[in-house]
């Protein structure tokens, strides 16, 4: 059974026509299923988990990047496929997954091209893209696989924990492997912006480490606040694990990763 979830942004008045078109197209393609809409009485987690409990094998969320990132967090522990119909044209996740906006996404869903990818886990939270500190000036102590620790020698360096990549912050050049069972720790110099990522001198200063298990602590008493995929707030101390082949995604042929 296909389970469709319409988030708040998809229910806005200005998207009425597009929403109707999507629903008609899904019926035409023969992939219509149970549909639920977010309301003040039912939140997203409640609706998705209820749908999965009732036998949904494919969960499709209709909304924006925020909707999809939240859906990854909810769906990852369950053995179901996850698809995305972006309602807005500037969705970064849609671009990475190779899914067009609106009605065209229905065609991609109907083609049933699946990719199983790793996800990152922090406690009971899951992320597909990246875990980054909200304030890059705060110093993190990173310990990988209980074997070695990483210490930044420049206070301005930023540290990112990547699974597929920092999708939300629009990093179009670098994508980590989401099939190797490892997360990537990147220590990035401050002047390495996403607009000029290939400057050689700067690139030589960035560091890359692969690890299955990462411990994050703060260098001082105050916890460092982190954001997973731009939506899930977390803080140090925390343990980050890579869960291998945990999430089955519906992707398009123009996706940006292998």
């Amino acid at each position: 059974m296909y389970f469709y979830f319409f988030d708040k942004c998809a229910l806005e008045k200005r998207h009425d026509t597009l929403r109707n078109t999507i629903e008609t197209r899904l019926t035409d393609l023969g992939i219509h299923g149970r549909t639920e809409r977010i309301s003040i009485f039912k939140n997203m987690r409640e609706l998705l988990e209820n749908g999965i409990k009732q036998g949904a094998h494919t969960v499709i969320v209709v909304g924006d990047d925020h909707t999809f990132a939240q859906a990854v967090n909810i769906v990852a522990p369950h053995q179901v496929a996850l698809g995305f119909i972006p309602i807005v044209s500037h969705s970064q996740f849609a671009r990475v997954l190779g899914i067009d906006c609106g009605e065209d996404a229905c065609t991609v869903i109907s083609q049933r091209l699946y990719k199983t990818v790793d996800v990152g886990r922090v406690g009971s939270s899951f992320f597909l893209g990246a875990l980054v500190p909200t304030d890059r000036q705060q110093q993190l102590i990173v310990r990988c696989d209980h074997l070695f620790s990483i210490q930044s020698l420049h206070a301005e360096n930023g540290i990112e924990i990547l699974n597929l990549g920092n999708i939300v912050e629009n990093d179009p050049v670098h994508f980590s492997s989401a099939h190797d069972g490892k997360l990537e720790v990147r220590v990035v110099p401050p002047n390495m912006t996403h607009f000029f990522p290939l400057k050689k001198a700067v690139k030589e200063k960035q560091s890359v480490f692969l690890a299955q298990h990462i411990s994050l602590t703060s260098s001082d008493d105050a916890p460092v606040h982190l954001l997973a995929d731009g939506v899930t707030p977390l803080h140090t101390p925390c343990e980050v694990n890579c869960i291998s082949s945990a999430l089955k995604l519906i992707v398009g042929r123009s996706r940006l990763f292998e």
Binding site: S176, H213, R253, F257
Partner: protein
């Protein structure tokens, strides 16, 4: 026939980078790095490095560690014993304080080496360092 052949999937835009560990010049690492990837060291390292692939040490790197690899390319400062299955190459800017064991050792003019060199076919040296995966 083209009708019945599976359409080749093409991914566009960004491609995944080759798997490797990079210690940049603004980072210090303490502990044991065990890897099955190439390792590039431009920064500081204290501990031990074991990889089944190659190690490249940049000219500004400062290392206090024993290292094992398939081959090594050294341009920086290393205090520790180096063991490679095939080659160890010391560039002119290299400063190595430790023993070298490899099938072939190349030392450029200007390189500093304080230690013993053992070359040629050597059972111990030819044993490829394997990395045990953590469960």
């Amino acid at each position: 026939m083209a009708l019945f052949t599976k359409e080749t999937e093409v991914t566009h835009g960004a491609q995944p980078t080759a798997s490797k560990t990079i210690i940049g010049s603004t980072v210090k690492v303490e502990g044991t790095i065990q890897s099955d990837d190439n390792i590039i060291i431009e920064g500081q390292l204290v501990g031990k490095v074991v990889t089944s692939k190659n190690i490249t040490v940049g000219k500004d790197a400062k290392i206090q560690a024993d290292m094992q690899a398939q081959s090594m390319d050294i341009a920086g400062e290393v205090r520790g014993n180096l063991k490679a299955v095939s080659d160890i190459q010391l560039h002119a800017s290299a400063h190595v304080y430790g023993d070298l064991v490899a099938k072939n050792i190349g030392i450029e003019s200007g390189a500093v080496l304080q230690g013993q060199c053992t070359t040629g076919e050597n059972k111990e040296a030819n044993a490829v360092p394997t990395v045990k995966q953590q469960s």
